[in-house]
Amino acid sequence: MSGSDVTRKGVEGERPGRDALTGDAAGRRRRRRGRGERSMVPDAEFSSYYGRPILKKPTWRALDIAGYLYLGGLAGSSSLLAAGAQATGRPELARVAKLGATGAISLSLAALVHDLGRPARFMNMLRVFKPTSPMSVGSWLLSGYAPLTMAAAASDVAGRYRLVGSAATAGAAVLGPAVVTYTAVLISDTAVPSWHEGHRQMPYVFAGSGATAAAGLALAAAPIAQTGPARRMAVLGAALELGVFQLMKRRMGLAAEPLEQGRPHLMLRTAEALTAGGAVLAALSGRRRDRALAAVAGAALLTGSAALRFGLFHAGVASAEDPKYTVVPQRERLEARERGQEA
């Protein structure tokens, strides 16, 4: 019976190879915390089935879906900028924002259809309307929003049907914020620990991040004389994003850990640095009237916003792949409930 008495050491990392472990050793893992910034929970010992994940990790491709989270934020916020610019007589800024919104949302639609297992069936998204499905709500939202941005941009570029163009610009600005923030609900409404546990703060993080992205595009592409609102939007958006992001990490408990480890950590740190730096540069570029500085600020803000979405996406995938983030918080919840019943 050598096969059943091999060793009592725990399984570390992936599925075991040929050495089946028995008894207490099997599936019991003592994990050391990664080098996070703060100690959020003590080292957790928990049981699992051969260290295998409990959840199925998302089948979504990072480039498609994280890319969509980013582009949707860029588009929706750009529509706000476009409407504001049009109302306050900043035609260059309005055109950049309208074209940006149209381009971003068109790419988004392409990415969303591309990510489907059966792309030819994309129209099934509009088969029903389900408020319980953020993806269904989003599909209807996009089917209203995308044509509006396209009409607004087409009218602006062609210089015709101005009234229709203005109405479309206004309509896109009404739907735009919803396009930005619903994407947070889209990923929070899952069992993925690092997405779900941030569900109260994520919409605000995405709102701030969308604002910085749209401001970044405007700074990079519009003349500096018209980008005053974009610079303020960059600063306000960065403050909202970075502030709520810190709050979110504190409220997430153990599920914040994947945000502070490995590649997601690097991406999120980069996002924070680029967003903060971009906002500072944006403010400086306004004071110095420096077009080159504005372009650098814009590029930093655009990249920072993208890095945030990709970082959060990958952190979620990592949290689904490790049973720890599913088991430990649930076990603690159970024990707290039992203590509550005894007391």
Partner: protein
């Protein structure tokens, strides 16, 4: 977790006679889904204490549902080479080896007085030994311990071996889709491909599913998955086609020990309560039910289990909660965030007009 009052109210507000659409006990799942005069809710009770790990359920499921091969691999995880539920594995038998005693063999037991030929001739005529057709005998006969032969203490679990060494115990459990009362997969499906049947089960319509994959991370049990070469998602249907013609699901039909029991959920719950009480009385203190409680995070499972260790040992989440419980809260925060973003944009422009255009 602290929940805001508004979210709580939205979640539990009675709606058209069927309260608790997103969370909480729901006694008429089929009715809440719009089925009129629905048959009783059907489900599985998987009693892992009698599972022998034969994998007949896995095979029967594959055969009946024409589920394709899901990869051939030797994992080293005891006898488990299917590893878990997936798009191509709708029943999965878990094998766990532990150093814990569990009703070990009793050597030297007298078998005088047992006539196997006589017992065989009584097959099917006596409720105590039902014939091959019966998979769900009456609770009393299913759970009553065999008449203890002389010399064997009835209903006792053998203690540690004389040398103090504990025995190896082998846990086997057949996992399956839980057919939750509040099914996150169904709630988040944007196309309506996932639906609630009249039997209260959750089924994917393969001609509707467009492979968006939203149900995959939504499932708190990690059951449903996408078939890569096909693009669509697949999972246990509780043999919807068989139920429709009054047959039991293939896995329950094939299970040789009645570890998998199929029937109306109310009846299964009663049977399970009885069984767990008997096991605990017999000294199996670890025996517990999993997923049978209508007040749990998913409103109770349509397929629940009797386990002999913590759920996570079997790869099951200890306290799953349907993600859509928090959806009203999420929508509220998304709306507030959208309003904040609009206000942020307005502020960006308003300040500029105050100080002159820059």
């Amino acid at each position: 977790m602290t929940d805001s009052g508004l979210g709580e109210e939205l979640r539990t507000r009675p709606d058209a006679g069927h309260g608790n659409q997103l969370y909480g006990p729901q006694h008429d799942v089929a009715g809440a889904a719009g089925h009129l005069d629905a048959p009783p809710r059907m489900g599985f009770f998987t009693d892992t204490s009698v599972c022998i790990g034969c994998k007949a359920c896995e095979v029967a499921c594959k055969e009946w549902n024409a589920v394709p091969e899901g990869g051939l691999l030797l994992t080293g995880m005891s006898y488990d080479n299917t590893q878990g539920l997936s798009a191509d594995t709708w029943r999965h038998v878990a094998f766990i080896e532990q150093r814990k005693p569990m009703g070990g063999q009793e050597p030297g037991v007298s078998h005088e007085g047992v006539d196997v030929f006589d017992a065989a001739s009584r097959l099917g005529t006596d409720p105590a030994s039902p014939g091959p057709g019966a998979t769900a005998p009456a609770p009393d006969t299913a759970t009553a311990p065999d008449p203890a032969p002389a010399g064997a203490p009835a209903g006792q679990i053998s203690p540690l071996a004389p040398d103090g060494r504990t025995e190896l115990r082998w846990l086997m459990a057949s996992d399956v889709c839980k057919h939750c009362t509040h099914a996150a997969c169904l709630d988040v499906c944007p196309t309506g491909a996932l639906f609630r049947t009249e039997f209260g089960t959750v089924v994917v319509q393969e001609d509707i599913c467009n492979g968006c994959g939203y149900c995959v991370p939504a499932c708190p049990y990690g059951v449903i998955d996408q078939r890569k070469d096909d693009g669509r998602v697949w999972k246990c249907t509780l043999c919807y086609d068989r139920l429709g013609v009054g047959q039991e699901p293939a896995c329950a039909k094939a299970c040789p020990t009645d570890s998998i029991q199929f029937g109306p959920l109310d009846e299964l719950r009663e049977r399970a309560e009885d069984r767990v009480a008997r096991l605990q009385a017999a000294g199996v203190a670890d025996a517990r039910l999993y997923g049978e409680d209508p007040t749990d995070g998913v409103g109770g499972d349509g397929a629940f289990f009797l386990l002999l260790d913590e759920p996570e040992v079997y790869g099951l989440p200890p306290d799953p909660v349907v993600t859509t419980r928090d959806l009203p809260d999420m929508w509220r925060h998304a709306a507030l965030a959208a309003a904040s973003l609009a206000a942020l944009a307005v502020t960006s422009f308003v300040r500029s007009t105050g100080r002159g255009r820059r």
